[in-house]
Symmetry: C2
Subunit: 227 residues, 2 copies
Amino acid sequence: MKPPAVVLLSGGLDSATVLAIARDAGYACHALSVDYGQRHAAELVAAGRIAASLGAVGHRVIRLGLGDLGGSALTDPAIAVPEAPTEGIPVTYVPARNTVMLALALAWAEVLGAHDIFIGVNSVDYSGYPDCRPEFIEAFARMANLATRAGVEGVHLAIHTPLQHLSKADIIRRGAALGVDYAQTVSCYQADEAGRACGVCDACRLRREGFAQAGVADPTLYRKDHT
Amino acid sequence: MKPPAVVLLSGGLDSATVLAIARDAGYACHALSVDYGQRHAAELVAAGRIAASLGAVGHRVIRLGLGDLGGSALTDPAIAVPEAPTEGIPVTYVPARNTVMLALALAWAEVLGAHDIFIGVNSVDYSGYPDCRPEFIEAFARMANLATRAGVEGVHLAIHTPLQHLSKADIIRRGAALGVDYAQTVSCYQADEAGRACGVCDACRLRREGFAQAGVADPTLYRKDHT
């Protein structure tokens, strides 16, 4: 019997690759998506498709009214998504996003009796998000082992970050080798309802450069002709 | 100008006392409640009353579909609330509850620019919940300082647990001295819609003993005559 793992799945390129890696490593993958009031639902629709096509044992979408708190271009329509590179922590940063996502993954892991959580954070293209750094993940894992039944019972709970030190091109090569269909994924910060990408936001730029560097044909659906 | 703080407010006796302590310490208090699919809404109604009567600057209720994950008597109607003391971690434990609550408080603190979060955890009557222990809180604070803008910018973010080492009687004495009206609070795990307590669950037992030991008249509204 395969050990269960919780895999955070946003519907984007990175987390789809993480799911493929976790499955390849022999885990029974329970995919978790969080509906935190993103600008578009296309990402969550993509997550459902990806969970099914990559053989996740189950897929849950937790609703969370994070948008009520404001403060991010990704949940607050009053803040514009930048279409050119910016300095420092970008406005697309969702406050405490990975802390909240990992906390919810931890809750589900505890219910499932899973001791493994997978998340697609990355320090190479981390774009100034503090909660993508390895030292944050290590501190979260330490806290998680004190927070739960597992910790009390002496079972070690691990946070896996298989993309931590990979470039976007490396991620794409890895996923392509594992059979990820990237046409199903949505990375754009302002995709339309059909999941078509804007081609100009930070996420689109990084993604397009990744395909070019990986030498893999870019299957992304763009709203206009950006190629 | 008073510094802002986020205060987690469940609507129970402990968190109402924490709000009174935070206000007394000179903070502009932003009360945060989480609607995670508790068995009853009375607790959240109580939180609103308490936030207003104790002078919170604001009060937000974040909706979170934690009940979808199951695993606790407090969110899953299929699991009965025990009416006699039990051994070990009780079924009323909500998986990763304080991790999730603190993560949401951290998100709001970041939006507000607050560097102080208050939570009513307690090690004296902690009833076997791993996420009420001081070592958990310390690990969370360490993680939080790596997770956020504040951490990157070198500002220290503090998690305050003013009830950590107080007995229930001490908490009640402290709150009574600060003017908390405990008739407004709901502690019962299975209160009815009007907020009336069952009188027999763990939370009711601890609360009643606390009032008796503090020598403060118990203002709790019970469903039947349990006194």
